[in-house]
Amino acid sequence: MSADSVLAAPTDRGGPAQPLLRVSHLKKRFALRGGGVLEAKKYLRAVDDVGFEIAKAETLGMVGESGCGKSTTARLIARLIEPDAGELVFDGDAVGRFGGMALKEFRRNLQMVFQDSAASLNPRLALLDAVAYGPRVHGLSASAARHRAAALLDRVGLAPAQFGARYPHELSGGQRQRVSIARALAFEPRLVILDEAVAALDKSVQAQVLNLLQELKVERGLTYLFISHDLQVVRYLADRVLVMYLGRVVEIGTVARLYSAARHPYTRALLSAVPSMDPSRRTERSPLAGDPPNPIDPPSGCRFRDRCAHAAEVCARIEPALFETVPGHLAACHLDDPASGHPEARVPLASIAMPDGVGA
Protein backbone atom coordinates (compact mmCIF):
# COMPACT_ATOMS: atom_id res chain seq x y z
CA MET A 1 0.00 0.00 0.00
CA SER A 2 1.63 3.17 -1.08
CA ALA A 3 1.66 6.05 1.33
CA ASP A 4 -0.59 8.16 -0.75
CA SER A 5 -3.27 5.61 -1.33
CA VAL A 6 -3.71 5.30 2.42
CA LEU A 7 -4.84 8.87 2.68
CA ALA A 8 -6.09 9.46 -0.81
CA ALA A 9 -8.80 12.02 -1.17
CA PRO A 10 -12.11 10.26 -0.57
CA THR A 11 -14.34 9.89 -3.57
CA ASP A 12 -17.77 11.24 -4.14
CA ARG A 13 -20.60 8.78 -4.51
CA GLY A 14 -24.08 9.56 -5.51
CA GLY A 15 -23.44 12.92 -7.10
CA PRO A 16 -24.40 16.43 -6.03
CA ALA A 17 -28.09 15.74 -5.50
CA GLN A 18 -27.48 13.22 -2.74
CA PRO A 19 -27.12 14.82 0.68
CA LEU A 20 -23.71 14.36 2.18
CA LEU A 21 -25.12 13.65 5.59
CA ARG A 22 -28.59 12.67 6.62
CA VAL A 23 -29.41 12.52 10.28
CA SER A 24 -32.67 10.98 11.39
CA HIS A 25 -34.34 10.48 14.74
CA LEU A 26 -31.23 11.17 16.75
CA LYS A 27 -31.82 10.78 20.45
CA LYS A 28 -29.62 11.01 23.50
CA ARG A 29 -30.54 11.30 27.10
CA PHE A 30 -28.31 11.51 30.13
CA ALA A 31 -29.18 9.95 33.44
CA LEU A 32 -28.92 12.35 36.33
CA ARG A 33 -27.64 11.57 39.76
CA GLY A 34 -30.99 11.02 41.38
CA GLY A 35 -31.65 9.79 44.86
CA GLY A 36 -31.24 6.24 43.66
CA VAL A 37 -33.67 4.05 45.47
CA LEU A 38 -35.68 6.89 46.87
CA GLU A 39 -36.41 9.02 43.83
CA ALA A 40 -37.32 8.06 40.32
CA LYS A 41 -34.42 8.33 37.92
CA LYS A 42 -34.33 11.67 36.20
CA TYR A 43 -33.14 12.11 32.66
CA LEU A 44 -31.83 15.05 30.77
CA ARG A 45 -33.10 14.70 27.20
CA ALA A 46 -30.29 16.54 25.54
CA VAL A 47 -31.15 15.55 21.99
CA ASP A 48 -34.73 14.50 21.40
CA ASP A 49 -35.54 13.25 17.92
CA VAL A 50 -33.36 15.47 15.79
CA GLY A 51 -33.22 15.04 12.05
CA PHE A 52 -31.84 17.07 9.16
CA GLU A 53 -29.79 16.88 5.98
CA ILE A 54 -26.65 18.58 4.85
CA ALA A 55 -26.12 18.96 1.14
CA LYS A 56 -22.73 18.70 -0.46
CA ALA A 57 -20.59 21.82 -0.45
CA GLU A 58 -23.06 23.73 1.70
CA THR A 59 -22.57 25.31 5.08
CA LEU A 60 -25.34 24.48 7.49
CA GLY A 61 -25.46 26.76 10.50
CA MET A 62 -26.79 25.42 13.75
CA VAL A 63 -27.93 27.98 16.29
CA GLY A 64 -29.61 28.01 19.66
CA GLU A 65 -29.08 29.02 23.24
CA SER A 66 -26.61 27.33 25.55
CA GLY A 67 -27.89 23.97 26.59
CA CYS A 68 -30.17 23.45 23.60
CA GLY A 69 -28.25 20.41 22.46
CA LYS A 70 -26.11 21.75 19.61
CA SER A 71 -22.80 20.46 20.89
CA THR A 72 -24.31 17.16 21.94
CA THR A 73 -25.72 16.73 18.45
CA ALA A 74 -22.32 17.43 16.98
CA ARG A 75 -20.69 14.86 19.22
CA LEU A 76 -23.36 12.33 18.41
CA ILE A 77 -22.74 12.79 14.72
CA ALA A 78 -19.01 12.45 15.28
CA ARG A 79 -19.71 9.34 17.32
CA LEU A 80 -17.75 10.67 20.27
CA ILE A 81 -20.87 9.85 22.25
CA GLU A 82 -23.05 6.89 21.45
CA PRO A 83 -26.62 7.84 20.53
CA ASP A 84 -29.53 6.11 22.18
CA ALA A 85 -31.33 5.97 18.86
CA GLY A 86 -31.04 7.38 15.40
CA GLU A 87 -29.41 6.84 12.08
CA LEU A 88 -26.64 8.50 10.16
CA VAL A 89 -26.37 8.15 6.43
CA PHE A 90 -23.20 9.50 4.87
CA ASP A 91 -23.37 9.97 1.12
CA GLY A 92 -25.78 7.10 0.83
CA ASP A 93 -24.03 4.72 3.22
CA ALA A 94 -25.46 3.96 6.62
CA VAL A 95 -22.75 4.52 9.20
CA GLY A 96 -21.86 1.80 11.60
CA ARG A 97 -24.41 -0.53 10.15
CA PHE A 98 -23.69 -3.90 8.68
CA GLY A 99 -23.05 -3.50 4.97
CA GLY A 100 -22.67 0.25 5.31
CA MET A 101 -19.70 2.34 6.27
CA ALA A 102 -17.31 1.32 9.01
CA LEU A 103 -16.67 3.73 11.83
CA LYS A 104 -12.98 4.16 11.06
CA GLU A 105 -13.75 5.04 7.48
CA PHE A 106 -16.44 7.45 8.60
CA ARG A 107 -13.94 9.13 10.89
CA ARG A 108 -11.77 9.88 7.91
CA ASN A 109 -14.58 11.71 6.20
CA LEU A 110 -15.68 13.72 9.17
CA GLN A 111 -13.57 15.95 11.35
CA MET A 112 -14.28 18.47 14.06
CA VAL A 113 -12.85 21.73 15.31
CA PHE A 114 -13.61 22.53 18.92
CA GLN A 115 -14.33 25.73 20.78
CA ASP A 116 -11.65 25.81 23.44
CA SER A 117 -8.47 26.29 21.47
CA ALA A 118 -6.27 25.67 24.49
CA ALA A 119 -7.94 22.39 25.34
CA SER A 120 -7.93 21.29 21.72
CA LEU A 121 -4.22 20.77 21.54
CA ASN A 122 -2.04 18.46 23.59
CA PRO A 123 0.21 20.83 25.55
CA ARG A 124 3.11 18.45 25.29
CA LEU A 125 3.13 17.92 21.54
CA ALA A 126 4.92 20.26 19.19
CA LEU A 127 2.54 21.65 16.56
CA LEU A 128 3.98 19.69 13.69
CA ASP A 129 3.67 16.46 15.65
CA ALA A 130 0.14 17.31 16.68
CA VAL A 131 -0.97 17.72 13.08
CA ALA A 132 1.01 14.69 11.92
CA TYR A 133 -0.45 12.38 14.58
CA GLY A 134 -3.64 11.54 12.73
CA PRO A 135 -2.03 10.58 9.42
CA ARG A 136 0.50 8.49 11.29
CA VAL A 137 -2.33 6.61 12.92
CA HIS A 138 -3.72 5.83 9.49
CA GLY A 139 -0.49 4.32 8.31
CA LEU A 140 1.47 7.12 6.78
CA SER A 141 5.21 7.01 7.41
CA ALA A 142 6.67 9.50 9.86
CA SER A 143 8.35 11.61 7.22
CA ALA A 144 5.36 11.62 4.89
CA ALA A 145 3.11 12.62 7.76
CA ARG A 146 5.40 15.46 8.79
CA HIS A 147 5.56 16.57 5.20
CA ARG A 148 1.82 16.72 4.97
CA ALA A 149 1.60 18.46 8.34
CA ALA A 150 4.08 21.09 7.24
CA ALA A 151 2.12 21.77 4.07
CA LEU A 152 -1.09 22.15 6.07
CA LEU A 153 0.44 24.50 8.61
CA ASP A 154 1.67 26.57 5.76
CA ARG A 155 -1.77 26.66 4.21
CA VAL A 156 -3.40 27.96 7.39
CA GLY A 157 -0.86 30.74 7.61
CA LEU A 158 1.65 29.37 10.11
CA ALA A 159 5.05 28.95 8.51
CA PRO A 160 6.25 25.48 9.45
CA ALA A 161 9.86 26.55 9.82
CA GLN A 162 8.80 29.06 12.44
CA PHE A 163 5.87 27.32 14.09
CA GLY A 164 6.43 23.64 13.59
CA ALA A 165 8.52 23.12 16.69
CA ARG A 166 6.51 25.43 18.92
CA TYR A 167 4.08 24.41 21.62
CA PRO A 168 0.43 25.38 22.04
CA HIS A 169 1.02 27.65 25.02
CA GLU A 170 3.27 29.83 22.90
CA LEU A 171 0.47 30.69 20.50
CA SER A 172 -2.52 33.00 20.60
CA GLY A 173 -6.07 31.69 20.50
CA GLY A 174 -6.51 32.45 16.84
CA GLN A 175 -3.27 30.71 15.91
CA ARG A 176 -4.26 27.67 17.92
CA GLN A 177 -7.55 27.43 16.09
CA ARG A 178 -5.67 27.52 12.81
CA VAL A 179 -3.60 24.57 14.02
CA SER A 180 -6.80 22.74 14.93
CA ILE A 181 -8.13 23.42 11.46
CA ALA A 182 -4.90 22.16 9.92
CA ARG A 183 -5.15 19.05 12.02
CA ALA A 184 -8.70 18.47 10.92
CA LEU A 185 -7.75 18.85 7.26
CA ALA A 186 -4.95 16.32 7.52
CA PHE A 187 -7.38 13.57 6.64
CA GLU A 188 -8.86 15.34 3.66
CA PRO A 189 -12.31 15.08 5.19
CA ARG A 190 -15.45 15.88 3.33
CA LEU A 191 -17.45 17.21 6.22
CA VAL A 192 -16.05 19.45 8.95
CA ILE A 193 -18.02 20.23 12.09
CA LEU A 194 -17.08 23.57 13.60
CA ASP A 195 -18.36 23.59 17.17
CA GLU A 196 -18.30 27.22 18.24
CA ALA A 197 -14.90 27.31 16.64
CA VAL A 198 -14.59 31.11 16.64
CA ALA A 199 -16.65 31.90 19.72
CA ALA A 200 -13.71 32.43 22.04
CA LEU A 201 -11.77 34.69 19.69
CA ASP A 202 -11.64 38.44 19.42
CA LYS A 203 -13.74 39.89 16.64
CA SER A 204 -10.82 40.82 14.42
CA VAL A 205 -9.26 37.40 14.81
CA GLN A 206 -12.65 35.84 14.20
CA ALA A 207 -12.84 37.55 10.86
CA GLN A 208 -9.44 36.17 9.82
CA VAL A 209 -10.32 32.64 10.79
CA LEU A 210 -13.71 32.83 9.10
CA ASN A 211 -12.13 34.01 5.90
CA LEU A 212 -9.66 31.16 6.07
CA LEU A 213 -12.53 28.73 6.50
CA GLN A 214 -14.28 30.15 3.45
CA GLU A 215 -11.17 29.84 1.34
CA LEU A 216 -10.55 26.29 2.42
CA LYS A 217 -14.12 25.35 1.71
CA VAL A 218 -13.91 26.50 -1.87
CA GLU A 219 -10.43 25.07 -2.39
CA ARG A 220 -11.15 21.62 -1.11
CA GLY A 221 -14.84 21.27 -1.74
CA LEU A 222 -15.65 20.94 1.95
CA THR A 223 -19.02 20.84 3.58
CA TYR A 224 -19.43 22.57 6.93
CA LEU A 225 -21.70 22.16 9.88
CA PHE A 226 -21.19 25.45 11.68
CA ILE A 227 -22.46 25.54 15.23
CA SER A 228 -22.69 28.88 16.91
CA HIS A 229 -24.76 31.01 19.20
CA ASP A 230 -23.69 34.12 17.33
CA LEU A 231 -26.35 34.87 14.73
CA GLN A 232 -24.30 37.49 12.90
CA VAL A 233 -21.47 35.10 12.22
CA VAL A 234 -23.83 32.37 11.06
CA ARG A 235 -25.47 34.77 8.67
CA TYR A 236 -22.11 35.59 7.14
CA LEU A 237 -20.97 32.02 6.70
CA ALA A 238 -23.96 29.76 6.30
CA ASP A 239 -26.17 28.82 3.37
CA ARG A 240 -28.92 27.29 5.45
CA VAL A 241 -29.63 27.59 9.14
CA LEU A 242 -31.08 25.16 11.66
CA VAL A 243 -32.48 26.44 14.94
CA MET A 244 -32.56 24.23 17.98
CA TYR A 245 -34.47 24.62 21.22
CA LEU A 246 -34.31 22.24 24.17
CA GLY A 247 -33.06 19.33 22.17
CA ARG A 248 -35.40 19.67 19.21
CA VAL A 249 -35.22 21.29 15.84
CA VAL A 250 -37.67 24.16 15.65
CA GLU A 251 -36.85 25.69 12.30
CA ILE A 252 -34.71 25.06 9.22
CA GLY A 253 -34.41 27.27 6.21
CA THR A 254 -32.13 29.24 3.94
CA VAL A 255 -30.30 32.18 5.45
CA ALA A 256 -32.16 34.70 3.36
CA ARG A 257 -35.58 33.46 4.31
CA LEU A 258 -34.79 32.81 7.94
CA TYR A 259 -33.29 36.17 8.64
CA SER A 260 -36.03 38.07 6.87
CA ALA A 261 -39.10 35.97 7.47
CA ALA A 262 -38.61 33.50 10.28
CA ARG A 263 -41.70 31.46 11.11
CA HIS A 264 -41.07 30.13 14.56
CA PRO A 265 -41.64 32.57 17.44
CA TYR A 266 -38.40 31.48 19.06
CA THR A 267 -36.36 32.24 15.98
CA ARG A 268 -38.01 35.61 15.70
CA ALA A 269 -37.22 36.35 19.32
CA LEU A 270 -33.57 35.38 18.82
CA LEU A 271 -33.28 37.56 15.78
CA SER A 272 -34.87 40.55 17.42
CA ALA A 273 -32.46 40.23 20.30
CA VAL A 274 -29.55 40.86 17.96
CA PRO A 275 -28.34 44.41 18.57
CA SER A 276 -28.61 46.71 15.63
CA MET A 277 -26.57 49.77 14.70
CA ASP A 278 -29.68 51.49 13.39
CA PRO A 279 -31.06 53.86 16.04
CA SER A 280 -34.48 53.82 14.50
CA ARG A 281 -34.83 50.17 15.37
CA ARG A 282 -35.26 49.95 19.08
CA THR A 283 -36.47 47.02 21.10
CA GLU A 284 -38.61 48.24 23.96
CA ARG A 285 -39.63 44.96 25.49
CA SER A 286 -37.59 41.88 25.95
CA PRO A 287 -38.56 39.55 23.11
CA LEU A 288 -38.46 36.48 25.27
CA ALA A 289 -40.72 36.25 28.28
CA GLY A 290 -40.52 33.84 31.14
CA ASP A 291 -37.57 31.98 32.63
CA PRO A 292 -35.06 29.92 30.68
CA PRO A 293 -36.38 26.40 30.45
CA ASN A 294 -35.46 23.46 32.59
CA PRO A 295 -34.12 20.80 30.24
CA ILE A 296 -34.89 18.05 32.70
CA ASP A 297 -38.58 18.79 32.91
CA PRO A 298 -39.65 20.46 29.68
CA PRO A 299 -43.19 21.75 29.39
CA SER A 300 -45.78 19.44 27.90
CA GLY A 301 -46.72 19.91 24.29
CA CYS A 302 -44.68 22.61 22.63
CA ARG A 303 -41.58 23.22 24.67
CA PHE A 304 -41.46 26.88 23.92
CA ARG A 305 -45.00 27.68 24.98
CA ASP A 306 -44.31 29.24 28.35
CA ARG A 307 -42.11 31.86 26.76
CA CYS A 308 -44.20 32.36 23.66
CA ALA A 309 -46.38 35.37 23.11
CA HIS A 310 -48.70 33.35 20.89
CA ALA A 311 -49.23 30.35 23.14
CA ALA A 312 -52.70 28.84 22.94
CA GLU A 313 -54.46 25.89 24.48
CA VAL A 314 -53.47 23.51 21.71
CA CYS A 315 -49.83 24.30 22.33
CA ALA A 316 -49.99 22.67 25.74
CA ARG A 317 -51.63 19.54 24.40
CA ILE A 318 -49.86 18.68 21.20
CA GLU A 319 -46.20 18.99 20.38
CA PRO A 320 -45.85 20.55 16.95
CA ALA A 321 -43.96 18.62 14.32
CA LEU A 322 -41.75 20.15 11.66
CA PHE A 323 -44.07 21.46 9.02
CA GLU A 324 -42.98 22.59 5.61
CA THR A 325 -44.39 26.08 5.24
CA VAL A 326 -42.64 26.91 1.99
CA PRO A 327 -40.56 24.40 -0.01
CA GLY A 328 -37.23 24.06 1.75
CA HIS A 329 -38.33 25.88 4.88
CA LEU A 330 -39.61 23.95 7.87
CA ALA A 331 -40.86 25.18 11.23
CA ALA A 332 -42.30 23.41 14.22
CA CYS A 333 -45.12 25.67 15.30
CA HIS A 334 -48.89 25.35 15.35
CA LEU A 335 -49.18 28.83 13.92
CA ASP A 336 -48.06 27.59 10.53
CA ASP A 337 -50.34 24.63 10.36
CA PRO A 338 -53.88 25.67 9.55
CA ALA A 339 -55.13 22.27 10.59
CA SER A 340 -53.60 22.51 14.04
CA GLY A 341 -56.53 24.20 15.75
CA HIS A 342 -54.52 27.21 16.82
CA PRO A 343 -56.77 30.27 16.79
CA GLU A 344 -54.12 32.41 15.13
CA ALA A 345 -53.02 29.83 12.61
CA ARG A 346 -52.89 31.27 9.13
CA VAL A 347 -52.21 30.08 5.67
CA PRO A 348 -48.52 30.61 5.23
CA LEU A 349 -47.62 33.46 2.94
CA ALA A 350 -44.41 33.99 1.07
CA SER A 351 -43.24 36.55 3.55
CA ILE A 352 -44.54 38.22 6.65
CA ALA A 353 -43.23 41.47 8.10
CA MET A 354 -41.33 41.11 11.34
CA PRO A 355 -42.80 42.75 14.44
CA ASP A 356 -39.67 44.82 15.14
CA GLY A 357 -38.67 45.32 11.57
CA VAL A 358 -35.59 43.17 11.66
CA GLY A 359 -34.63 43.28 8.03
CA ALA A 360 -31.90 42.07 5.77
Binding site: A78, L110, A119, S120, P123, L125, A130, A132, V137, S180
Partner: protein, 284 residues
Protein backbone atom coordinates in the same frame (compact mmCIF):
# COMPACT_ATOMS: atom_id res chain seq x y z
CA UNK B 1 5.50 8.06 16.22
CA UNK B 2 5.64 11.63 17.44
CA UNK B 3 7.32 11.92 20.84
CA UNK B 4 5.87 13.64 23.81
CA UNK B 5 7.49 16.97 24.80
CA UNK B 6 10.80 18.00 23.34
CA UNK B 7 14.10 18.37 25.17
CA UNK B 8 13.60 22.11 25.59
CA UNK B 9 11.29 21.63 28.55
CA UNK B 10 13.65 19.63 30.74
CA UNK B 11 16.55 21.93 30.04
CA UNK B 12 14.37 24.79 31.26
CA UNK B 13 13.55 22.91 34.43
CA UNK B 14 17.22 22.19 35.11
CA UNK B 15 18.07 25.83 34.57
CA UNK B 16 15.39 26.97 37.00
CA UNK B 17 16.69 24.53 39.59
CA UNK B 18 20.25 25.76 39.24
CA UNK B 19 19.17 29.31 39.88
CA UNK B 20 17.37 28.63 43.15
CA UNK B 21 19.84 28.57 46.08
CA UNK B 22 17.72 26.37 48.32
CA UNK B 23 17.24 23.75 45.64
CA UNK B 24 20.87 23.89 44.69
CA UNK B 25 22.09 23.45 48.24
CA UNK B 26 19.69 20.65 49.01
CA UNK B 27 20.52 18.98 45.71
CA UNK B 28 24.18 19.00 46.64
CA UNK B 29 23.41 17.59 50.09
CA UNK B 30 21.29 14.82 48.63
CA UNK B 31 24.00 13.92 46.14
CA UNK B 32 26.59 13.93 48.90
CA UNK B 33 24.58 11.60 51.09
CA UNK B 34 23.92 9.30 48.17
CA UNK B 35 27.59 9.27 47.28
CA UNK B 36 28.71 8.54 50.82
CA UNK B 37 26.26 5.69 51.03
CA UNK B 38 26.99 4.27 47.61
CA UNK B 39 30.75 4.39 48.00
CA UNK B 40 30.75 3.35 51.65
CA UNK B 41 32.82 0.20 51.06
CA UNK B 42 35.62 2.38 49.71
CA UNK B 43 35.20 5.45 51.90
CA UNK B 44 34.41 4.00 55.32
CA UNK B 45 37.36 4.14 57.71
CA UNK B 46 36.49 0.94 59.58
CA UNK B 47 34.51 -2.28 59.37
CA UNK B 48 30.93 -1.50 60.43
CA UNK B 49 30.46 -4.96 61.89
CA UNK B 50 33.62 -5.12 63.92
CA UNK B 51 32.63 -5.04 67.55
CA UNK B 52 34.74 -4.56 70.61
CA UNK B 53 33.33 -4.43 74.08
CA UNK B 54 36.32 -2.48 75.29
CA UNK B 55 35.51 0.42 73.02
CA UNK B 56 31.80 0.70 73.80
CA UNK B 57 30.12 4.07 73.58
CA UNK B 58 33.16 6.20 73.08
CA UNK B 59 32.15 9.85 72.86
CA UNK B 60 32.31 12.02 69.75
CA UNK B 61 35.80 13.19 69.01
CA UNK B 62 37.57 10.15 70.39
CA UNK B 63 40.88 9.24 68.87
CA UNK B 64 40.38 7.12 65.79
CA UNK B 65 36.59 7.31 66.09
CA UNK B 66 35.55 10.85 65.13
CA UNK B 67 31.88 10.17 65.78
CA UNK B 68 32.31 7.74 68.60
CA UNK B 69 31.28 4.11 68.81
CA UNK B 70 27.97 2.40 69.37
CA UNK B 71 26.82 0.07 72.13
CA UNK B 72 28.85 -2.80 70.69
CA UNK B 73 31.95 -0.78 70.07
CA UNK B 74 31.51 -0.37 66.32
CA UNK B 75 32.73 2.75 64.58
CA UNK B 76 29.88 5.21 64.12
CA UNK B 77 31.21 6.87 60.99
CA UNK B 78 31.29 3.58 59.14
CA UNK B 79 27.95 2.48 60.58
CA UNK B 80 26.34 5.69 59.49
CA UNK B 81 27.74 5.46 55.98
CA UNK B 82 26.74 1.86 55.52
CA UNK B 83 23.46 2.58 57.25
CA UNK B 84 22.69 5.14 54.61
CA UNK B 85 22.55 2.44 51.94
CA UNK B 86 19.71 0.57 53.53
CA UNK B 87 17.90 3.66 54.75
CA UNK B 88 18.00 5.29 51.34
CA UNK B 89 16.92 2.15 49.55
CA UNK B 90 14.04 1.70 51.95
CA UNK B 91 13.08 5.29 51.42
CA UNK B 92 13.24 5.42 47.64
CA UNK B 93 12.35 1.94 46.45
CA UNK B 94 8.80 1.75 47.85
CA UNK B 95 7.99 5.15 46.33
CA UNK B 96 9.41 4.01 43.00
CA UNK B 97 7.40 0.81 43.05
CA UNK B 98 4.28 2.64 44.17
CA UNK B 99 4.84 5.16 41.38
CA UNK B 100 4.92 2.47 38.71
CA UNK B 101 2.03 0.46 40.09
CA UNK B 102 -0.01 3.45 41.15
CA UNK B 103 0.31 5.30 37.86
CA UNK B 104 -0.71 2.24 35.87
CA UNK B 105 -3.76 1.59 38.00
CA UNK B 106 -4.68 5.26 38.14
CA UNK B 107 -4.35 5.66 34.37
CA UNK B 108 -6.56 2.67 33.80
CA UNK B 109 -9.18 3.75 36.30
CA UNK B 110 -9.17 7.33 35.06
CA UNK B 111 -9.34 6.55 31.36
CA UNK B 112 -11.80 3.70 31.46
CA UNK B 113 -14.10 5.37 33.97
CA UNK B 114 -17.47 3.90 34.75
CA UNK B 115 -17.84 0.85 36.92
CA UNK B 116 -14.21 -0.17 36.82
CA UNK B 117 -13.27 3.23 38.14
CA UNK B 118 -15.79 3.04 40.94
CA UNK B 119 -14.74 -0.44 41.93
CA UNK B 120 -11.05 0.38 42.06
CA UNK B 121 -11.52 3.63 43.93
CA UNK B 122 -13.84 2.08 46.49
CA UNK B 123 -11.35 -0.67 47.26
CA UNK B 124 -8.62 1.94 47.62
CA UNK B 125 -10.82 3.99 49.90
CA UNK B 126 -10.71 1.16 52.40
CA UNK B 127 -6.94 1.37 52.49
CA UNK B 128 -7.20 5.10 52.64
CA UNK B 129 -9.21 4.73 55.81
CA UNK B 130 -6.05 3.61 57.61
CA UNK B 131 -3.58 6.26 58.71
CA UNK B 132 -0.34 5.52 56.86
CA UNK B 133 1.78 4.85 59.90
CA UNK B 134 -0.78 2.47 61.27
CA UNK B 135 -1.12 0.61 58.00
CA UNK B 136 2.62 0.30 57.57
CA UNK B 137 3.07 -0.98 61.09
CA UNK B 138 0.13 -3.33 60.89
CA UNK B 139 1.10 -4.88 57.55
CA UNK B 140 4.73 -5.04 58.49
CA UNK B 141 3.86 -6.51 61.82
CA UNK B 142 1.57 -9.06 60.25
CA UNK B 143 4.15 -10.13 57.70
CA UNK B 144 6.91 -10.27 60.22
CA UNK B 145 10.17 -8.40 60.70
CA UNK B 146 12.54 -8.16 57.81
CA UNK B 147 13.53 -5.76 55.12
CA UNK B 148 11.56 -7.20 52.22
CA UNK B 149 8.39 -7.35 54.31
CA UNK B 150 8.80 -3.72 55.23
CA UNK B 151 9.30 -2.84 51.60
CA UNK B 152 6.06 -4.57 50.72
CA UNK B 153 4.24 -2.84 53.57
CA UNK B 154 5.51 0.59 52.59
CA UNK B 155 4.69 0.12 48.91
CA UNK B 156 1.21 -0.88 49.95
CA UNK B 157 0.85 2.31 51.95
CA UNK B 158 1.81 4.60 49.09
CA UNK B 159 0.06 2.93 46.18
CA UNK B 160 -3.44 4.23 47.10
CA UNK B 161 -2.16 7.79 47.40
CA UNK B 162 -0.50 7.71 44.02
CA UNK B 163 -3.47 6.03 42.40
CA UNK B 164 -5.67 8.79 43.69
CA UNK B 165 -3.52 11.51 42.15
CA UNK B 166 -3.03 9.63 38.89
CA UNK B 167 -6.73 8.88 38.54
CA UNK B 168 -7.70 12.45 39.24
CA UNK B 169 -5.31 13.87 36.66
CA UNK B 170 -6.23 11.23 34.09
CA UNK B 171 -9.92 11.97 34.51
CA UNK B 172 -9.32 15.66 33.96
CA UNK B 173 -7.14 15.11 30.92
CA UNK B 174 -9.65 12.64 29.51
CA UNK B 175 -12.28 15.36 29.32
CA UNK B 176 -10.19 17.73 27.27
CA UNK B 177 -10.94 18.30 23.61
CA UNK B 178 -7.62 17.08 22.26
CA UNK B 179 -8.47 13.61 23.46
CA UNK B 180 -11.69 13.82 21.48
CA UNK B 181 -9.71 15.04 18.52
CA UNK B 182 -7.39 12.06 18.87
CA UNK B 183 -10.35 9.71 19.02
CA UNK B 184 -11.72 11.32 15.89
CA UNK B 185 -8.48 10.60 14.11
CA UNK B 186 -9.32 6.95 14.44
CA UNK B 187 -6.50 6.14 16.85
CA UNK B 188 -6.79 3.15 19.12
CA UNK B 189 -7.05 3.47 22.88
CA UNK B 190 -3.48 2.37 23.51
CA UNK B 191 -2.07 4.90 21.12
CA UNK B 192 -4.12 7.70 22.62
CA UNK B 193 -3.07 6.82 26.15
CA UNK B 194 0.56 6.52 25.22
CA UNK B 195 0.88 9.68 23.17
CA UNK B 196 -1.68 12.04 24.64
CA UNK B 197 -2.52 10.96 28.17
CA UNK B 198 0.63 9.49 29.67
CA UNK B 199 2.86 12.49 29.13
CA UNK B 200 0.37 14.84 30.75
CA UNK B 201 -0.23 12.57 33.73
CA UNK B 202 3.34 11.62 34.58
CA UNK B 203 4.33 15.19 35.43
CA UNK B 204 1.92 15.88 38.29
CA UNK B 205 2.24 12.34 39.63
CA UNK B 206 6.02 12.57 39.62
CA UNK B 207 5.89 15.86 41.52
CA UNK B 208 3.61 14.25 44.09
CA UNK B 209 5.81 11.20 44.41
CA UNK B 210 8.97 13.20 45.08
CA UNK B 211 7.22 14.67 48.10
CA UNK B 212 6.59 11.16 49.37
CA UNK B 213 10.24 10.09 49.50
CA UNK B 214 11.05 11.84 52.74
CA UNK B 215 7.87 10.53 54.34
CA UNK B 216 8.80 7.04 53.23
CA UNK B 217 12.31 7.36 54.61
CA UNK B 218 11.03 8.45 57.99
CA UNK B 219 8.43 5.71 58.00
CA UNK B 220 10.92 3.05 56.93
CA UNK B 221 13.38 4.02 59.60
CA UNK B 222 10.50 4.18 62.02
CA UNK B 223 9.65 0.59 61.24
CA UNK B 224 13.22 -0.44 61.90
CA UNK B 225 13.09 1.62 65.07
CA UNK B 226 10.19 -0.50 66.21
CA UNK B 227 12.05 -3.65 65.34
CA UNK B 228 9.96 -4.44 62.32
CA UNK B 229 12.30 -3.60 59.50
CA UNK B 230 15.92 -4.29 59.08
CA UNK B 231 17.32 -6.82 61.51
CA UNK B 232 20.56 -6.50 63.49
CA UNK B 233 23.49 -6.50 62.92
CA UNK B 234 22.73 -4.73 59.63
CA UNK B 235 23.37 -1.02 59.94
CA UNK B 236 20.32 1.12 59.25
CA UNK B 237 19.65 4.49 60.75
CA UNK B 238 16.30 3.65 62.32
CA UNK B 239 17.57 0.39 63.72
CA UNK B 240 20.59 2.15 65.12
CA UNK B 241 18.32 4.56 66.93
CA UNK B 242 16.60 1.60 68.47
CA UNK B 243 19.68 -0.22 69.65
CA UNK B 244 21.31 2.95 70.90
CA UNK B 245 18.28 3.99 72.92
CA UNK B 246 19.48 2.73 76.22
CA UNK B 247 22.71 4.59 75.58
CA UNK B 248 21.05 7.97 75.86
CA UNK B 249 21.83 7.99 79.54
CA UNK B 250 25.49 7.27 78.97
CA UNK B 251 26.35 8.94 75.70
CA UNK B 252 23.34 10.84 74.44
CA UNK B 253 24.85 12.55 71.40
CA UNK B 254 26.12 9.38 69.83
CA UNK B 255 22.69 7.90 70.39
CA UNK B 256 21.09 10.81 68.56
CA UNK B 257 23.40 10.70 65.53
CA UNK B 258 21.47 8.27 63.31
CA UNK B 259 18.32 10.34 63.71
CA UNK B 260 20.23 13.43 62.73
CA UNK B 261 21.14 11.71 59.48
CA UNK B 262 17.52 10.85 58.81
CA UNK B 263 16.55 14.43 59.55
CA UNK B 264 19.21 15.90 57.30
CA UNK B 265 18.36 13.62 54.39
CA UNK B 266 14.66 14.20 54.83
CA UNK B 267 14.94 17.98 54.87
CA UNK B 268 17.26 18.01 51.90
CA UNK B 269 14.84 15.82 49.94
CA UNK B 270 11.88 17.96 50.88
CA UNK B 271 13.56 21.17 49.84
CA UNK B 272 14.71 19.59 46.61
CA UNK B 273 11.22 18.27 45.92
CA UNK B 274 9.78 21.73 46.56
CA UNK B 275 12.30 23.20 44.17
CA UNK B 276 11.53 20.65 41.48
CA UNK B 277 7.84 21.35 41.90
CA UNK B 278 8.30 25.09 41.41
CA UNK B 279 10.62 24.58 38.46
CA UNK B 280 8.15 22.32 36.73
CA UNK B 281 5.28 24.68 37.50
CA UNK B 282 6.65 27.64 35.60
CA UNK B 283 6.60 25.71 32.42
CA UNK B 284 2.96 24.72 32.71
Amino acid sequence: MPDAAGGGYWQGVARALRRDPASLASGVVVLLIFALAAFAPWLAPADPYKASMLRRLLPIGSAGFPLGTDELGRDMVSRLMYGGRLSLVMGVLPVLLAFVIGTSVGLFAGYVGGRWNMAIMRVLDVFYAFPSVLLAVAVSGALGPGMSNSLIALTLVFVPQIVRVAESVTTQVRRLDYIDAARMSGAGTLSIVRVHVLGNVLGPVFVYATGLVSVCMILASGLSFLGLGVKPPEPEWGLMLNTLRSAIYVNPWVAALPGAMIFATSIAFNLLADGVRSAMDIRR
